[in-house]
Symmetry: C2
Subunit: 134 residues, 2 copies
């Protein structure tokens, strides 16, 4: 069921500083910042040969990563996103196996314009998992 790792998301309190660290210190190719108002984040993509890192900075008072940064003020690994072929089939299989899907259980349009779901980290050993249909 799990396909490629689409991205690893890292929440950061200061996107400008984090972008500079990944570009100048680690020598990676980084995108320009993209404001995703409907997702409550500003994102910079770190492009690697086989996958990407998404550096996320909170945007607005309802940003979904604010609670994480309250607990981890200097930032940290926030979630892993896996690609799936059929997100409804994946969801139904997971629910049948007892996993909790966050929200109302219906896929939302993710940051890349594709259907996504998030799975409860307590069902996956502390890791927040995003599934994206590609």
């Amino acid at each position: 069921m799990l396909g490629r790792v689409n991205h690893i998301a890292i929440a950061v309190p200061d996107l400008k500083a984090a972008t500079s660290t990944y570009r100048d210190m680690l020598g990676a190719k980084v995108s320009k910042p993209q404001v995703l108002a409907e997702h409550g984040v500003t994102v910079v993509f770190v492009e690697l040969p086989n996958t990407k890192i998404e550096l996320l900075e909170p945007l607005g008072d309802a940003s979904p990563i604010l609670a994480f940064l309250d607990k981890n003020p200097s930032g940290g690994m926030h979630h892993v996103c896996y690609e799936v072929d059929d997100i409804i089939a994946a969801r139904d299989r997971l629910k049948q196996a007892g996993a909790r899907v966050l929200g109302d259980g219906e896929p939302k349009t993710g940051a890349h314009g594709k259907p996504v779901l998030f799975l409860h980290p307590k069902d996956f050993f502390g890791t927040l998992i995003e599934l994206e249909q590609v």
Copy 2:
């Protein structure tokens, strides 16, 4: 400088249960457990099309992931490993830029038999980074 994401390491308190979750619930291909006594972990590889997840369970009283599991008893994302061509050049560049290399700063032989270094998470927005020369 940064190359491929070699793996994402996830620390878990119960490797057998985590392996079952990734294999049976998430439908991923998993390896047999491998005891890495000199690294203080038992590891299961989750093979994905473009990279891998390493599920790590502590082994022994000096396991390097015990402190992490004390803080995160149900587990969590532990580190990201990036491939580099020349680990000494990478280290020297990072040190010159002010980043802290863990331990004595000399590469050790990692879990895949190749030279590795770890970088201080406080210099990378809360993310523990491993570099592996491939």
